[in-house]
C-alpha cells in the first residue's frame, strides 16, 4: 500500500480536466482558424463573433467552475463539539418547512452537516449544497460554483451545436474537395464535437431538470426525495432564479479579522438580575439587622449565635437582598456578584451563609473577611438557574477542584469555607496563573483549514492548554461524580463499588495527567481532547496502582455517565491488561451507531455498558479489526471519535495512541505478547495506525503501519 496514496494519484486526478481543456481549446481554435474565415466571407461576419463570444463564455464558466471554492465548510473548532454529549447521536433531525431532514455527523469535519451538505471524499471537505464532484473540472460542485457549472454546460452545448452546425455548412459547401486540409480539419473538429455532443447535451438536460425541480445531483442520485416532497424547492421559477440570480455566497475560509476586536471584557459584569433588581437591591450594613426585624425569619440561626456585630452585618448583607429591602448599600462587591437569589434558594443560601459567616467571624472577625465568603456564596445559588452549573460555580465547587489542583496535599478542598480568601484566590488563580505563567503571546495554532488543505490540528505545545483542560476536566469530574452517585444509588452494584477511588486522589491524578501529557510527545493533544489526557495515564495506570486511581479519576473526569462503568471496570479489570479493546468495542458499538432507531442516549448506559465492557475487554487485539471498514465513517477522530457519537462504552484509558509513556511503565500490551518489547514511545495502537494509513490526512503523530 503506498504510503501516501494521495500524492501518487495526483497526476491522475488532472487527466480528465486536462483532456477537457485541451479538447475544448484545441477544437475551438481549429474551428476558428480553418472554418471561420470562409464562413465570414460566405455567410456573415457575425458568425465568428457569435462563436467567439460563446467560446469566451464557455472558457470563463469553465474556469470559474474549476477554480472556485464550491462552498467548503472549514473544520469545526474543537470547542464547538465539546458541547455535545458523548452519547450524541450520529444523526440529528431538523425540521425544514415541516419536513424532517436528517443531519449526519461528519467525523472528519466535526459538525453535523447542514441540510444539503455532503462530504466529498475526493476533496476531503464538507461542501455546502453539494451537487457532485466533477472530474472534468476536477472540483466539487457546490453552492458557490453550481451556477457557473450550469452555465458552462449550457454554453458548451450551445458552442458544440454552433461548431457542428457551421462545420456542416462548411463541409456541405466543400463537398467536392473533402481531401483538402481545411475540410479535413473541419471534419475532425466536427467528429470531436459530435462525439461529446450526446453526453454533454444529456448532462445539460439533466441539470436543467434538476434546476427546475430544485434538487442537487446528490439528492437525485441517492433518491432522497423519491416519492416525497422536496423541502428545499421554491417553485420552478424560484428555483431557476435562485440558481441564476442569487448573490455569490462568500467563502468560509477563516482569515485574520479585518476589524480587530476591541472589546474589553472586564469585570464586574452586568447581570440581568442586577439590572432588573437595581432598585430593590438595597442592603443595610450600617444597621444591626437584629433590630431592623426584617427577614429574621429567613435567617433564624444567626440570631442565636453570639457573633460580633461584624458578622451580623455580614448576615444582614447576605440575607436582606432576598427580601427586597429599601435600604441600599453601595459597594462594588454588590455589583460584582449576582445579587439576591430567589426565595427558593434563600434557605440554602442563608444556611450556607450561616456556616460560612460563623467560621469567618470566628477566624477573622473582620468585616471584609466576613464579606468574602458572601461573595463566594453569592455565586452559589446561581447554578440552580443556569445550566452552566460547573462553570458558573466558580466559587465553592470550582475552588474545590482548583484548590486540589494547586494543593496536591489537600485534595478534597474543603478548606474553602474555612479560608474564603484562599478560596477566592485559588478560584481566580487557576485562570490567571496559566495565562500568567504560560506564554500570553502564544501563537495561535490555526484551527481552520484553508479551503483546499487538510486541517493542521497540531497539538498545543504550551502547558497552559493542558492545564486548562485539566481544569475543565476537574469540573467535568465533579459533574460526573454527582451523576455517578446518582447512578450508583440506582445501581447498587458491587461492580461500581469503587467509586471511592475517584474522590480522593483527584488532584494528584490531575497533576499526573498534566505531567504525563506534557511529556515530549506533544502530539498527545493532537486532537485536543481531554480523552488524550485520560488515555495516557490511564494506559499505564492499570499497571501502576498510583496511576490506576488516576486513571479512574481521569476517566471519570473526562467521561460523561456512560464512561463511568468503563472506568470502574478498568479499575476492576486492571489485571486483565486489556489494552486496546477498540476493535472489539468498535464492532460492539456499531449496532449502537448504525441506526437512528437505536436511542442515542441510552438512559441506563452504565448498566448496559457493564457486561459489554467486560465482553470487549477480552477481545483479542492482535487480529486486525474486522469492523475497520465499518468504522470508516468514524475513523479519524482518534479517541474523540471513539468515545463519542453514540460510542460511549469505550474504556478511554485503554488506548495508547498519541501518547508517550514513561519507559519504566510497561504498557498494557506487554502481557499480550510477552516476548515483544515495549512499543516505542508514542506508538499508535494498531487500529489507529491502520486508520491513518487509510486516511493519511488524519494521521497521528507517527504512523507505523502494521
Amino acid at each position: 500500500m503506498p504510503r501516501s496514496p494521495g500524492t501518487r494519484l495526483k497526476p491522475a486526478k488532472y487527466i480528465p480536466v486536462a483532456t477537457a481543456a485541451a479538447l475544448l481549446v484545441g477544437s475551438s481554435t481549429l474551428f476558428f482558424v480553418f472554418t471561420c474565415p470562409w464562413l465570414t466571407r460566405a455567410v456573415s461576419p457575425a458568425v465568428p463573433v457569435y462563436n467567439g463570444i460563446i467560446f469566451l463564455f464557455v472558457l470563463a464558466n469553465f474556469s470559474m467552475a474549476t477554480f472556485m471554492d464550491p462552498g467548503v465548510f472549514p473544520r469545526a473548532d474543537e470547542d464547538e463539539d465539546k458541547e455535545d454529549d458523548f452519547r450524541a447521536p450520529l444523526y440529528k433531525n431538523v425540521d425544514v418547512r415541516g419536513i424532517q431532514v436528517r443531519m449526519k455527523w461528519c467525523a472528519t469535519c466535526h459538525f453535523y452537516r447542514p441540510p444539503r451538505c455532503s462530504h466529498c471524499s475526493v476533496c476531503d471537505n464538507c461542501v455546502e449544497d453539494f451537487d457532485h464532484h466533477c472530474p472534468w473540472v476536477n472540483n466539487c460542485i457546490g453552492r458557490r460554483n453550481y451556477r457557473y457549472f450550469f452555465l458552462f454546460l449550457l454554453s458548451l452545448s450551445a458552442h458544440m451545436v454552433g461548431v457542428v452546425a457551421f462545420g456542416l455548412v462548411y463541409v456541405l459547401n466543400h463537398a467536392e474537395g473533402l481531401g483538402a486540409a481545411h475540410t479535413t480539419i473541419t471534419m475532425a473538429v466536427m467528429c470531436v464535437a459530435g462525439l461529446f455532443f450526446i453526453p454533454v447535451i444529456g448532462l445539460t438536460g439533466f441539470h436543467v431538470v434538476l434546476v427546475t425541480r430544485g434538487r442537487t445531483t446528490n439528492e437525485q442520485v441517492t433518491g432522497k426525495f423519491r416519492g416525497g416532497v422536496n423541502p428545499f424547492t421554491r417553485g420552478c421559477y424560484g428555483n431557476v432564479e435562485h440558481v441564476l440570480c442569487s448573490p455569490l455566497a462568500p467563502r468560509y475560509v477563516v482569515e485574520p479579522p479585518r476589524l480587530p476586536l476591541a472589546a474589553r471584557l472586564k469585570p464586574p459584569f452586568l447581570r440581568p438580575e442586577l439590572l432588573e433588581r437595581a432598585a430593590p437591591l438595597k442592603v443595610k450594613l450600617s444597621d444591626n439587622g437584629l433590630k431592623a426585624g426584617l427577614g429574621r425569619s429567613k435567617v433564624p440561626g444567626p440570631d442565636s449565635l453570639t457573633l460580633g456585630e461584624d458578622s451580623i452585618h455580614s448576615l444582614d448583607f447576605a440575607s436582606e437582598p432576598s427580601l427586597d429591602l429599601p435600604d441600599y448599600t453601595p459597594g462594588g462587591l454588590h455589583a460584582a456578584y449576582p445579587p439576591s437569589p430567589p426565595l427558593s434558594a434563600a434557605d440554602t443560601f442563608s444556611g450556607a451563609l450561616r456556616s460560612l459567616s460563623l467560621k469567618a467571624a470566628s477566624r477573622r472577625g473582620g468585616d471584609h473577611m466576613a464579606l468574602q465568603p458572601l461573595r463566594s456564596e453569592g455565586g452559589a445559588p446561581t447554578p440552580h438557574r443556569s445550566i452552566f452549573a460547573p462553570h458558573a460555580l466558580p466559587n465553592r465547587n470550582g475552588s474545590l477542584s482548583y484548590d486540589s489542583l494547586l494543593n496536591p496535599g489537600s485534595p478534597s478542598g474543603h478548606t474553602c469555607p474555612a479560608h474564603p480568601s484562599a478560596g477566592m484566590a485559588s478560584y481566580r488563580s487557576p485562570y490567571l496563573h496559566p495565562g500568567a505563567v504560560g506564554d500570553p503571546p502564544r501563537p495561535p495554532p490555526r484551527s481552520f483549514s484553508p479551503v483546499l488543505g487538510p486541517r493542521p490540528r497540531e497539538p498545543s505545545p504550551v502547558r497552559y492548554d493542558n492545564l486548562s483542560r485539566t481544569i475543565m476536566a476537574s469540573i467535568q469530574e465533579r459533574k460526573d461524580r454527582e451523576e455517578r452517585e446518582r447512578l450508583l444509588r440506582s445501581q447498587a452494584d458491587s461492580l461500581f463499588g469503587d467509586s471511592g477511588v475517584y474522590d480522593a486522589p483527584s488532584s494528584y491524578s490531575l497533576q499526573q495527567a498534566s505531567a504525563l501529557s506534557e511529556g515530549p510527545r506533544g502530539p498527545a493533544l493532537r486532537y485536543g481532547s481531554r480523552d488524550d489526557l485520560v488515555a495516557g495515564p490511564g494506559f499505564g495506570g492499570a499497571r501502576n496502582p498510583a496511576l490506576q486511581t488516576s486513571l479512574s479519576s481521569l476517566s471519570s473526569a473526562v467521561s460523561r455517565a456512560p464512561r463511568t462503568s468503563s472506568s470502574s471496570l478498568q479499575a476492576d479489570l486492571a489485571n486483565n491488561n486489556a489494552p486496546g479493546p477498540r476493535p472489539g468495542s468498535g464492532s460492539h458499538r456499531s449496532p449502537v451507531r448504525q441506526g437512528p432507531p437505536s436511542p442515542p442516549s441510552t438512559p441506563r448506559s452504565p448498566s448496559y455498558a457493564g457486561p459489554k465492557a467486560v465482553a470487549f475487554i477480552h477481545t483479542d487485539l492482535p487480529e486486525s479489526p474486522p469492523s475497520l471498514a465499518m468504522q470508516r465513517g468514524r475513523i479519524g477522530t482518534c479517541s474523540r471519535g471513539w468515545g463519542r457519537r453514540g460510542q460511549p462504552r469505550v474504556p478511554p484509558g485503554l488506548h495508547l495512541c498519541h501518547l508517550g509513556l514513561p519507559e519504566d511503565r510497561p504498557p498494557l500490551r506487554a502481557p499480550w505478547s510477552p516476548a515483544a518489547r515495549a512499543p516505542p514511545r508514542g506508538a499508535m495502537c494498531r487500529l489507529h495506525s491502520a486508520a491513518s494509513s487509510l486516511f493519511p490526512s488524519l494521521s497521528g503523530p507517527e504512523r507505523d503501519t502494521k
Partner: protein
C-alpha cells in the same frame, strides 16, 4: 503557597491578539453555541431560542434582538433582487473579471455584519462578560457566545500583535 496571591492575580491581564487567541485562552470562558435555524430551508438564519446557559448573563430580549438583527442582515445578503441581477449580468458580461475588482453584495453585507457584531460586543456584550463571534468564521453554521467565566479575569481583545502584556 504560591497560589494565594490575590493582588497579583488581579493585576495580571490577558492580551489577546485576535479572536483565535481569544479562543485559545477562552478555556476560561464557556462557549454557548446558537445553531442555525433550518425551518425555512437553507437560508441563513439562526435560532432565536434563548439558550439556558445565558440565562444569568444577558436579558432574553437583548439576545433575541441581536439574533433577529443578524438574521435580517443575512436575509438582506441573500436577497435575490435588483442588485444581485445586475451583479450577475455584469459578471457575465465581463467574463467574471469583475470579481477581481469589485466586492460582491454578500461580502459587503458581511462587512456590515462584522461591524455590527463588533459594536454589539463593545456596547452590550462585553459589559456582561460575553463575546459574540462572527458566524462566518465557522462557516455560518453557528454563532457562538463566549461567556467569560471568571470574574477575576480581564480579557482585553485587540488586533494588535506583539503588544507587551505587561503594559
Amino acid at each position: 503557597m504560591t497560589q494565594y496571591r490575590p493582588q497579583e492575580d488581579l493585576s495580571k491581564r490577558f492580551w489577546v491578539h485576535n479572536l483565535q487567541e481569544l479562543r485559545r485562552s477562552a478555556s476560561l470562558a464557556t462557549k454557548v453555541f446558537i445553531q442555525r435555524d433550518y425551518s425555512d430551508g437553507t437560508i441563513c438564519q439562526f435560532q432565536t431560542k434563548f439558550p439556558p446557559e445565558l440565562d444569568s448573563r444577558i436579558e432574553r430580549q437583548l439576545f433575541e434582538e441581536t439574533v433577529k438583527t443578524l438574521n435580517s442582515f443575512y436575509a438582506e445578503a441573500e436577497k435575490i433582487g435588483g442588485s444581485s441581477y445586475l451583479e450577475g449580468c455584469l459578471a457575465c458580461a465581463t467574463a467574471y473579471f469583475i470579481f477581481l475588482c469589485m466586492e460582491t453584495h454578500y461580502e459587503k453585507v458581511l462587512k456590515k455584519i462584522s461591524r455590527y457584531i463588533q459594536e454589539q460586543n463593545e456596547k452590550i456584550f462585553a459589559p456582561r462578560g460575553l463575546l459574540l463571534t462572527d458566524p462566518v468564521e465557522r462557516g455560518m453554521r453557528v454563532v457562538s457566545f463566549l461567556a467569560v467565566l471568571c470574574e477575576g479575569t480581564e480579557l482585553l481583545t485587540s488586533g494588535l500583535p506583539g503588544e507587551d502584556p505587561q503594559k
